[in-house]
Amino acid sequence: MAFYDKLFETLGLSNWCGVAGEGAPLSMADLMAQASGDAASGPFFPFPSLDNLNESCSAILQSRDVTKGIEDGFLAAKPALKSVLDPLTQPLSWMLDGALWLFEATPWFIMIPVLVGISWYASRSKPVTIFVFVAIMLLGLVDHYDVAMQTLSIIFVCTTISVLLGVPIGIAMSKSDRLQKFTVPVLDLLQTLPTFVYLIPLIFLFSVTESKLYGIAIILYAIVPVIRLTDLGIRLVDQDVIEAADAFGMNSKQKLMRVQLPLALPNIMAGVNQTIMMSLAMVVIASLVSAPGLGVNVLRGIRNLELGVGIVAGIGIVLLAVILDRVSKAALSRVDMTHVKH
């Protein structure tokens, strides 16, 4: 005799419910109650949850049916989703693998000067460039050069794609309040969801051996700031200047390329800086789903309790983070300089 029996009787739903409890698989709680031989030991007024209602009326679903339903639905949709998403995302795998190969195949005595050169070109700052050189040499010294390059190659690809997709999305958002209203909650969701949560459906969709799996996870997480700040940057452009552009008869493309994007550039660069930092954060977590790089060593440190391995890899990540942050921030402030405020 379950608590909610009376309810269904008074509602006259006994027939629809069928015979109470019969045929329905027993829940764990029932088994426990039977084992202890005391059916009345349940709470006096149980919460009307699916499982509790099911005890009185078998026509009502159990909670495990819900999870099973989701799983079944997902599995049913998987072939269709996969047939669309697979070819669409295949280039991502190629790019990740290609970049990985390139970063690993290039000998260190070429790679390091190239990286230092890029740092100089972007930052035009001696201290930053020297720091980059020293940091990479340090990583190499403790034999972490290869893993660091793997991590860097993933960040390189994911950041590039995030910018290529994020800037146009941000532009579109800045032009349409409707689109902004719909996009902002999605961006909030992507940013607040614990990263593990959206790894789950991705693992179902793609096989763990494919590099696009972690690529997508990283991009979904890291693309948010560049979208947000592009949108914000364009919306913050001085309305007087926009008005002048209109008054001299610019069309919307001229306005975008000559006024809005250049004036939004400092904000967009700030977004790119955050995107880089978030890719780095995610690439470590993505080592759970076979992303190579420093994260793998951290994971090893955790799994095997190899304290030293984990900490050295951790310090390597910090170094990489500081390098990326300093270089992109120096580039940002250089953009800001040529943008003298009025």
Partner: protein
Amino acid sequence: MTEPMVSLRGVYKIFGQDGASVMDHVKNGMGKEELLAEHKHVLGLNDINVDMQAGEITVVMGLSGSGKSTLIRHLNRLIEPTAGEIIVQGEDVMQLSETGLREVRQQKMSMVFQKFALLPHKTVLQNAGMPLSVRGEDAEVCNREATKWLDRVGLAGFENHYPAQLSGGMQQRVGIARALTANTDIMLMDEAFSALDPLIRTDMQDLLLELQKELHKTIIFITHDLDEALKLADHLVILKDGYVVQQGEPQHILLNPNDPYIEDFVSDINRARVLRVRSVMTPLSDGAVPDDAHGDVDVDDTLESMIARSGGDTSHAYVVKDGDETVGTLDMTALVRALVPRVSSDDGTRNY
């Protein structure tokens, strides 16, 4: 009179959710405050009819919030009217397609802004050449024209500076050079000099008058400063709460204000410096000039210079010449009388 360069015919602008829905109230005479209180719409412009003649400076004056900026932005449709016609060189701007409108903005009207509105990431040269590069001209043409006009406004040597490196007055010179580079017949100037220091403002006014003597543009100039309006205007339009209180020849308005609002405006002005002999002389009707005349004066002399010349003696009389032609006589007594503002007989009607 020739066809005006620009005319506004029955232009209304009501800001708010659905301006057209409250048009009837406005046409039935509902005022700005009432409309805001009862219908939550802001009356921007109320039945504006203004003709702007080619080659003249039309000055629109009014207090802050009277709708000056709204009015000037209707001419190039930066703001869409709720009702009315806007005719530029015989063409109804309201009928234009988007492309047609862009063409009008590129070819017929240029604009100078109160806050300069220069592109901060471009050099002075690139800013001044912007109107041409928007039209798709070569960089060489843009630079040549821009250099020419920058020279003309006194900015030679500053071509490669960025706007932020210049003072406000110099930035606005760039703004003017940009408008001149566009080489349009019509120039719109929205409080172009209001953000500048008084001395620099005077310089800029002189520069504008000097350029105008040479270029004969049709200039629509917005200001809230009566001195500036009187100095520049060929035709003066006075706005209040979105409607035209009075418009006409500035000296005429000064001597015959038709509204307490305007009387208040003009009461503080140095009339001797603003009024000219032309406005107070007795026109020549029968060809008779007084034989005791103390000499010849020009129609465009200010009353101030006349007082100096007569040494303050009100018994003097002068013969007024326009070029070589005698056009009237000036009696110093009439001159002194004109210096006293006509005081409103009914101060109680002021409601602003």
